[in-house]
């Protein structure tokens, strides 16, 4: 058995040395200025027009979708929605740097990544209306997307649980020799959960090829980040766990893209985790149940409106001669129409039949659930007016 030396390379000192906070400088990567022009010393990633436009268009699409669904919630058409306004680049540009085989495990504000992968408007709508075309079979609240074909793990409401799960998933990818990695999204609030500590530490110790992508958007519902942590953001924790770390301007699509690209390369080459902290701002309310006027000022929001990632990207694309204003307006109008049309179709699709309520609890329906379903069906037949959504189709 080998001798171990857990002191490692620790130096000795003869005076009390108190190490304060922020000893290490973790600068924020920024390639584009807020107006969309490139920093002189910026090292831009390799990106062609098609991909760049796709990043822009996806962000634009998500903003339109978000707007429509918030209104739909106000109209009582869906029960709940969570918009990613102001943070579109964090999700879209990072997803753009991945390979389709990479697994995405997200928190709940990364619909941009899902859209980038190719989730359609109909698919978004069906999930939100919990109808029988919803892949979740109407079991979860709106915005809890998941798609096996697109390698997007189904979202769950408890915060941070996906972090150690991502470590495990990535470990499996490593063992399978997949050449694929996992990206794990979470907010700075969720990073206070024990699961963050457990998951990141395990990924580091067990050499898991996972990108931990933190959207530090300044708020966890009404709690600002100065009430969430005292250290230097989330990036400093990565270093604490021995994890390679990059901090990036989350509203700079190209910076996010470049950071994620590099992180992916490192994760695969070195079989290790990488932590990215994307500094951004949650322009939206936490969700449709929240009203930010209760805890922050309009002025503060306006400062960040000036850093809008979509405008920044559009401006850069224009500088590159890759952007057509008229074409874009046509795309935007069409997207609005398509979204509304898809909504109106989805909202009339009925929910699943009642048999689904006992499916998928296990791989097959056990006796006790069979019994419960039988009783329930008989009861629904007896009181059809009380259960109008299922009484018509119950056999």
């Amino acid at each position: 058995m080998e001798d171990r030396n857990h002191l490692g390379k620790i130096k000795t000192t003869n005076r009390v040395e108190v190490i304060g906070n922020g000893l290490i400088d973790i600068p924020m990567l920024q390639l584009l200025k807020p107006d969309g022009s490139e920093h002189e010393t910026a090292q831009l990633p390799e990106i062609d027009q098609t991909l760049a436009l796709k990043i822009h268009d996806t962000m634009e699409y998500i903003r339109i979708l978000d707007e429509r669904m918030v209104a739909a919630q106000r109209q009582g058409r869906i029960s709940f929605y969570l918009a990613s306004t102001g943070e579109e680049a964090a999700a879209v540009a990072s997803a753009a740097a991945l390979s389709p085989n990479d697994m995405i495990m997200s928190q709940y504000r990364e619909q941009g990544a899902l859209a980038f992968r190719g989730y359609t408007t109909d698919q978004f709508m069906n999930q939100m209306f919990s109808n029988k075309a919803d892949p979740n079979k109407g079991r979860q609240m709106p915005i809890h997307y998941g798609d096996k074909a697109l390698n997007f793990m189904t979202i769950s409401s408890p915060l941070g649980t996906q972090i150690p799960q991502a470590s495990g998933y990535a470990y499996g990818q490593k063992m399978a020799g997949n050449d694929a990695i996992t990206i794990c999204y979470f907010g700075e609030g969720a990073a206070s959960e024990g699961d963050f500590h457990a998951g990141v530490n395990m990924a580091a110790v067990l050499n898991c090829p996972v990108i931990f992508f933190c959207r530090n958007n300044g708020y966890a519902i009404s709690t600002p980040s100065e009430e969430q942590f005292a250290g230097d953001g989330i990036a400093s924790r990565g270093i604490g766990y021995g994890v390679k770390t990059i901090r990036v301007d989350g509203n700079d699509p190209l910076a996010v893209f470049a950071a994620t690209q590099e992180a992916r390369r490192i994760a695969l080459a070195e079989m290790c985790p990488v932590l990215i902290e994307a500094m951004t701002y949650r322009l939206a309310a936490h969700s449709t149940s929240d009203d930010p006027t209760g805890y922050r000022s309009r002025d503060e929001e306006d400062k960040w409106r000036a850093k809008d990632p979509i405008a920044r990207m559009a401006n850069w694309l224009t500088h590159k001669g890759w952007f057509d204003e008229k074409q874009n307006k046509a795309k935007v109008d069409k997207a609005r129409q398509d979204v509304l049309a898809a909504l109106k179709v989805s909202e009339t699709v009925p929910i699943c039949g009642i048999e689904e309520i006992v499916e998928d609890v296990y791989d097959s329906v056990p006796w006790h659930l069979q019994d419960q379903l039988t009783s329930l069906k008989a009861h629904i037949k007896q009181y059809p007016k009380k259960y109008p959504k299922t009484s018509g189709s119950v056999r």
Partner: protein
């Protein structure tokens, strides 16, 4: 057409919100998505955009009002084919009212007889009358019936235990032989012997006034139902034969007269019955077969050394046949005392279940009411029963050929002809009669 826009629950469980500002007024033409109103919940101020284009027909609240969630907020006049975008499946409006109470109709069974009637024993079931009228007990179908075991709820088992009823001997009227509450109650109120049935029942049942009707029907329940069951069982399985004779009562009458004061001094009424009962016990010693019982399939005959002699009593709830246990060991006084007590208890409805069980032979003193002869039905599983007619003063020839008045009582024995033949029955009756006609002969056997 006008559609109401229903104020939705926009904040996970809010019930009301305040109208902060209307952005439209009645008569305005509005477009889809146009902001209609701003409302305030305890969580947020939200703007609600229009779902459809059209003309604002009516605003149901004013600025500053508190609007209720799930109630109409405003009405829009529109040409759009506006389904309210509900995800109801298509038939929800149809099947409704008719089927709503469908099971209730199915569950109201035809009323079968059940004895939640006041005829029952001490356990108060009057309270359950209302419920069991609407829904019948006994709906549940037990999966299996197990030989040698009973199917009964804990409540039923309790009643059986309290009344010392062996559930294995009770016939269950529920599914798969399940014993229901009223099955046990019937047995409690039971062990009725045959002959006195008709007259007593007429007196007992609170006959409602049916004057003027050409006929009326009532349910057979309670003690009447129990008796019916018992009689059928007895007559169907036991081949009855009857032996009659007359007994001269003069000497017993005199004896009783002389003993009466002594008994009364001890607060015990002395009727003729204790003499009949003690005489019967003495006679049974010589003819044990009269005190035996055949098993159900007639393959085994059990002789009992104890004489538990039953006698019919006009009890509070109807005719009962309690028995005096172990008469062979009891004195005349004991018997008289016990009979006295038993009759009191029966009249007050306080007879314990034990008194009604375990009888080995029965006497029916129908003559106390009237009648000369009868054909009594054996109290199954006993072997014999005697019905006593009324004592009449009748002219008879004395030894010297003169006509004298004698007190004569007719007695009628019914016996189980499977095990008792006529000769045996007559000989037995001769012996018993002799003890009654010459009571001093009983002294021979005084122990």
């Amino acid at each position: 057409m006008n559609i109401d826009f229903i104020l939705p629950d926009i904040g996970e469980g809010i019930v009301e919100c305040e109208i902060v500002k209307w952005n439209v007024k009645e008569g305005d033409v509005i477009a889809e998505d146009q902001s209609v109103v701003e409302v305030m919940t305890d969580k947020a101020v939200v703007e609600i955009p229009a779902k459809h284009s059209g003309t604002v027909h009516k605003l149901y609240y004013k600025q500053g009002d508190i609007a209720q969630v799930h109630s109409p907020l405003f009405a829009l006049h529109t040409d759009e084919s506006a389904s309210e975008g509900n995800q109801n499946s298509t038939d929800d409006t149809t099947t409704d009212a008719a089927t709503d109470q469908v099971s209730n109709a199915e569950r109201v069974n035809e009323t079968t007889s059940h004895s939640a009637s006041p005829v029952n024993d001490n356990t108060s079931e009057q309270g359950n009358l209302a419920i069991s009228d609407k829904w019948q007990d006994g709906d549940f179908e037990p999966p299996i019936a197990i030989p040698g075991k009973v199917l009964a709820s804990p409540a039923v088992r309790r009643i059986a235990r309290e009344h010392e009823i062996d559930l294995l001997a009770v016939a269950g009227s529920g599914k798969k032989g399940r014993i229901l509450k009223h099955d046990v109650s019937n047995v409690c109120a039971n062990t009725v012997s045959a002959s006195n049935v008709s007259t007593n029942n007429d007196e007992l049942s609170a006959t409602p006034n049916h004057a003027g009707e050409s006929s009326y029907t009532e349910k057979v329940r309670g003690i009447r139902a129990a008796m019916a069951k018992q009689m059928v069982a007895s007559v169907n399985t036991i081949p009855h034969f009857t032996v009659s004779d007359e007994i001269r009562m003069d000497k017993l009458i005199a004896l009783r007269q002389s003993l009466k004061p002594m008994f009364e001094a001890k607060d015990v009424k002395l009727s003729f019955m204790p003499f009949f009962v003690k005489a019967l016990s003495l006679a049974l010693k010589a003819f044990p077969i009269i005190n035996s019982q055949l098993n159900e399939d007639g393959t085994e005959l059990t002789y009992f050394n104890h004489h538990n002699i039953g006698f019919a009593v006009d009890a509070k709830i109807g005719l009962l046949v309690p028995n005096i246990k172990g008469v062979e060991n009891l004195s005349l006084f004991d018997i008289a005392q016990q009979m006295h007590t038993t009759i009191e208890q029966a009249r007050e409805g306080k007879l314990g279940g034990d008194a009604l069980k375990g009888g080995t032979i029965s006497i029916s003193n129908i003559g106390a009411i009237g009648g000369i002869t009868a054909t009594p039905v054996i109290n199954k599983p006993e072997t014999a029963i005697v019905a006593l007619g009324k004592t009449q003063k009748l002219p008879r020839f004395a030894a010297d050929g003169s006509v004298e008045a004698q007190n004569i009582m007719m007695v009628n024995w019914s016996g189980d002809h499977r095990i008792i033949d006529g000769a045996t029955m007559v000989r037995f009756n001769n012996l018993w009669s002799s003890y009654i006609e010459e009571p001093e002969t009983m002294l021979m056997h005084l122990k």
